[in-house]
Symmetry: C3
């Protein structure tokens, strides 16, 4: 009788409970208990988002060629580390402390004493431990950096890439983040981006786009006659694993962005977010699979994977307000955008190794616009202003950083190194030294 | 002194606390706090079960040959998506709403308005958010579908398989589920299946068995002289990863099936379930390893992996009532059944690519019978009635669906496609395009 | 306005809340609610530590050669199973029941009736379910055993290894564990090891070191002329995945070692632990990458991975007291120790296949000493006494067990078996039967 109990009660109490469980009903939970729940939500959802670092790594390691796989792994674990250190040294304060319109405290250490001091977190927020919030915010900035590494894979040199990561996670991401989540000017205008379709995903996408254009395509990817040379991913089960990890992590990404779990209303909202997040991803898969089958008569696994991710990015700006049907619609359109945008990028001769631009940039924009479908407080105009302002800021600052790196220490591996593979050229280790041809194979 | 505190208190208060912490002791937790705990249990344990989708995918991708690996990944992520959509559109209501003996409301949308409406979940159950429960139930139906895909791998065409998934997750699973968990006739008889040895695992197993028989064995698997041609899995570390994922997810599967965490008694039960679940799996591994060593003088990894899964399925029908010793016994017998049943299926010329029938069907039956070892409320006769009724229903309905698909759009890839591999034939992508021979190798 | 709320309040209430949230402030949470939180912490953090078993398995499977990969997977899933069974039968009581200085109750069954009986856990501790604590302790002993399997890979025979695992997890680990965590003589002296830099990690490291010396190096690893023959890992993305899994699991390892979550002070401490744990690992990566680049001009992925693990082990003895800056320092030195120690072991002709001795032994010692940097209650002398006493005990007892096994049933695969690979010799299964050369390749 596993559900009989639940079912019978459900029928009876629906109407009254729905009214009772408004945000104000949380008085019943004592403040310290609520503090524990809120903090636990940041920690549990935070470790799920941390796990997304492994997801991006596996996805990208599976979608590059064997000869660049070691490098892709090395870049991903290092960028996750760099993101955490920079967000501690600079980013968090820039994003959340003393934000007055444009950005917060640009103090590397001293400006953040009341939250982050040399002795670590000494303060606690009203209702949650400050360090749990910091942990949750930190794994978000790491996600942004992970997006970039996929697009520019297989030809960018690692140390210029890591310098870009330093600036992205320490400066660029936090400044635009302060505009909305830090309480800056976009927040005051009413821009709405619940868990970061724009603030996390399209930011990563814009930075990746700038990189892809400035670094250029992989040698041989685009023929002078307009032909596109496919360079298939070397390990598709690994890419699939990465997608499943990301899907799992997204429950933390969106669910934790409720920022509280200390009341029935909050945890009910988190439950709704889980369901909408899952259904948008499912719809993204099914839409991408069906459309791809119609157009190409093939079940292209990479489209199914990116369809899931496209659905997830699309629902991220508003995973709470939509009905399930709307979530399915939002995610399904995300899946369709993937199938449409991937060949479009090829036509534009933009070489995006893992498809991160369709997933994170295009679906990020779509998701941010789609907020108006379900959230009555959101305005179409304001959503567009937010998308354009953040996009322009990130595209320009990223382009400047990529450009300066190109002109100074150089961005690209030499053609010889690219042919040999970055694993041998920069890592000195092959990913699969015993498997037919190893990483030397083009 | 990490444990000194705990140890000293443990000795002192055992007797009294044991009495105090009965189910009725939960009055001390205020209702809203209990609501949060209950909902959190569904969400946390639900995401662990969702993660099992990745486990099934990795297990199956590792146990098929290279040339069918992409397809196995594509099928698994798509079936997880289809299961969620169908359970939303049809399945949940059929299983839980207005169940009167045989099944619930066979209304695609309108019949479930008071729980699932076009606006999403608006109702809350007594003590938990309705959508958290829905999420938890949904990932269970996906597990059932995942079981089938392993058995019929390497020769079934993908779209007929997905149509079968639609009917399994939308109709077949929910109807039999309504009999027990929905409060139907088996529930009234007292059939006991805590987390689904029968209702989830053997249902998947019966559907897989029907498929394996109707689709037939892979070309070349069984010689006309009774010989069995081994077709070894192409990536055993991936299969091992899948097993570890499933083991982890099973804490959610069994632990979350307590359906509540809002009292000390409930969380204590969940803790007991974690321990019993783990010990049954451990015993399954050790029993399978030892027996296999005795019979074949080899440490067969696939037997160790399926031994773990066999132990887990065996304890699933009753993970709470057994002592640890009984859990070890139940799981150990599960491991032994694996070693015995795998060659038996070969003798019967049933081609089960990943060993899902021994794991989920045979151990599912064993686990459901084993309930009577520890649960005094269970009756042997009723357990058998449940096993037979559900088995007959699922075997027959599945056979009809597989049969109709075979006679209409066809179920099997052509011999040429099978030789080439489904990755090239239906996906147009190789799983490991650079590794010796790629997926074209037989 | 995701953070605006948090930010504004943070600024206002920091000073007062910091004072209010001392350990004594937990009176506000009712005892049963605290019981649920405490138990939930053991369960949630326990499943994260259980997941580390998969991390060790993937790390090791990726770092051995193809021909020994199946065996490495088989050993890891079996040792996890054996550890659980032995800790139930012997270990837990030896470590925690009736500890009087040297060890607890050496009763296989009967001595532990009041906590673990033939009927399972019947008692509950003050504030948490006994079985949740047992689950959490059990996954720790499994981690210790996992460390050993990496070092002695590629030449130890499986059954002698499993016998060693029985004695390590049933006897050696619990006895030394009783000295501190069981309330024995080291605890009385004030030895401080929060989550087990010494008690878990260096214990695994000492047992591995004894094994590596007694078993000897792999054939061909060290030339008689002092040359070192590199034997590169066969699947580096898998090793990367393993490292990410371990990193994720470490939030459970260190966070759960707070042993309570039922007050604001406890959950705030857990949040601090998460941050420090993450930052130490990040610093380990960055330090190892930079130092390796300076010395070798290469981004050696295995150094980045072991740098993460070195940082994690280093912070494990005291993840709560340090400021973030100190955590970064402690972890960064851990990363440096990796880069220094790996070639040192080669010079000593100690063949440590996965680098477990630098990570778990050397960083374990460093982390235990580093406790005095931040924890005012710790004494340098006592820390050294603990390190030496536990080291001597484990090194000697392990050496005796390895030695007796060597003299009786034998420890090493024959040279022929080693050349052929343990997968064929002992498992009868290749890990990647279709990939260029398969596991027969040296």
């Amino acid at each position: 009788m596993r559900k009989f109990f639940g079912f019978s009660v459900l029928t009876a109490v629906t109407a009254s409970v729905t009214i009772a469980l408004t945000k104000t009903a949380s008085a019943a939970v004592d403040p310290e208990t609520a503090f524990i729940f809120n903090t636990l939500s940041f920690l549990m959802h935070g470790f799920l988002v941390m796990w997304m670092a492994a997801g991006f790594c596996m996805l990208e390691a599976g979608l590059v060629r064997t000869k660049n796989t070691t490098m892709q792994c090395a870049k991903n674990i290092t960028l996750y580390s760099v993101a955490g250190l920079l967000y501690w040294l600079v980013g968090y304060n820039l994003m959340y402390m003393d934000v007055s319109g444009f950005m917060g405290s640009f103090a590397i250490w001293s400006g953040s004493d009341d939250v982050i001091t040399a002795d670590g977190f000494t303060g606690d927020g009203s209702g949650y431990a400050a360090s749990s919030d910091w942990f949750f915010q930190m794994v978000f900035v790491a996600a942004t950096a992970s997006i970039v590494s996929g697009t520019v894979a297989e030809r960018v040199k690692v140390f210029p890439f890591l310098i870009f990561t330093v600036l992205l996670t320490g400066i660029i991401y936090p400044i635009q983040g302060s505009w909305t989540w830090g309480g800056g000017w976009l927040s005051e205008m009413g821009f709405s981006d619940f868990a970061g379709s724009t603030i996390v995903h399209s930011v990563g996408g814009w930075a990746a786009l700038a990189g892809a254009i400035i670094i250029g395509a992989r040698t041989g990817k685009f023929g002078s006659d307009g032909s596109v040379h496919p360079m298939p991913g070397s390990n598709l089960p690994l890419a699939t694993l990465g997608t499943f990890i990301l899907w799992l992590g997204w429950f933390g990404f969106n669910g934790g962005s409720q920022l509280a779990m200390g009341s029935a209303a909050d945890v009910r909202d988190i439950a709704t977010i889980y369901v909408n997040t899952n259904m948008a991803a499912a719809a993204g898969v099914v839409a991408a699979v069906i459309l791809n089958q119609i157009i190409y008569k093939k079940l292209d696994l990479t489209m199914a994977l990116n369809g899931a991710l496209g659905g997830l990015v699309s629902i991220t700006a508003e995973p709470l307000a939509p009905s399930i049907g709307t979530a399915v619609l939002v995610g399904g359109i995300g899946g369709i955008l993937i199938v449409v945008a991937v060949p479009l990028l090829d036509k534009l001769k933009i070489d995006d190794v893992v498809g991160a631009i369709p997933v994170h940039l295009i679906c990020g924009i779509w998701g941010t616009i789609a907020v108006v479908l379900s959230n009555g407080d959101a305005s179409f105009t304001t959503q567009i202003i937010g998308i354009v302002a953040i996009g322009a800021f990130v595209l320009i600052t990223s382009a400047v950083v990529w450009g300066v790196l190109k002109l100074t220490i150089g961005l690209r591996a030499s053609e010889e190194e690219e042919f040999l593979g970055l694993d041998r050229a920069e890592c000195g280790l092959e990913a699969y030294p015993e498997f037919g041809g190893g990483s030397g194979r083009v």
